[in-house]
């Protein structure tokens, strides 16, 4: 049980760290897909199967495609896939900040008495989840639907404005 968790964590963290340190954008995006798959494996490990499938559909399936399209739409040549390295000072301060935040988190986790009993494996079926979502949480589901619709329409409008103005400029 613990060994599986440690394996999943190491896989996810290694691919995330590699993705954030590589200079080639496409390699970074593909490694991030691996790290999202690691998070999905964590959900499976913790007994939230539906979430693992949702993570697979949304992150590994949809967001990775959107990111790859954005990478391909915003480059002019193959050389731009590996742009010039960022400033050294910027990276050093970012790593210092990250280490400081990590130290605060790790200290808080390790020195807090978390005496929850592990309990039996949780069984939360899709049927129960559906009943919760359509019953007590129905209003929240509606609000999330509205947010998603508005955000996606806004994304389309934002990405399409440039082309319209180009046409107006040309005419």
């Amino acid at each position: 049980m613990i060994v599986a968790l440690i394996t999943i964590a190491l896989f996810t963290l290694a691919s995330a760290a590699l993705a954030m340190s590589l200079r080639n954008l496409i390699h970074s995006a593909l490694l991030l897909v691996a790290s999202w798959a690691g998070v999905a494996m964590f959900y499976l490990w913790a007994g939230a199967e539906f979430l693992a499938f949702a993570q697979g559909l949304i992150y590994i399936g949809a967001i990775s495609m959107v990111v790859l399209f954005a990478v391909l739409l915003t480059r002019r040549s193959v050389a731009e896939l590996a742009p010039a390295p960022d400033g050294k000072w910027r990276s050093v301060t970012a790593i210092y900040t990250g280490c400081a935040v990590a130290a605060v988190f790790f200290g808080a986790i390790l020195f807090t008495p978390l005496n929850f009993s592990a309990g039996p494996a949780r069984s939360f079926t899709v049927r129960e989840l559906g009943q919760q979502l359509m019953g007590p949480q129905a209003a929240a589901v509606l609000v999330v639907g509205v947010i998603l619709t508005v955000a996606l329409l806004g994304g389309v409008v934002l990405a399409a404005v440039g082309r319209r103005t180009e046409k107006e400029d040309a005419s």
Binding site: L5, I8, L32, Y43, A94, Q137
Partner: protein, 103 residues
Amino acid sequence: MSPLQLSLLFSSALFCIGLVGALARSNTILVLLGIELMLNATNINFIAFWRYGPNHTAGTGVIFVLFSIAVAAAEAAVGLALVIAVYRHQQSIRLQEANRLKG
């Protein structure tokens, strides 16, 4: 060390990797992906507390993560649309060069 603590350590390490990526990189797409990693780390926290928390019957953790994933998907869509809009104006996705409000 209990599985809950291990899960929390895992999620905070993932959060910090995302934070370093979002702060260190000057490529806008990678900054967005760092923020996505941080959101994933918070979801891991929700699931860890749902699995090992004191209330053994409610499924609140799963439902919270579902809504969180939905909001993260909306954020990614709007963010990448913004990246494309900025690229149209500036012909670059480096953050340092996007320093004008009116392109």
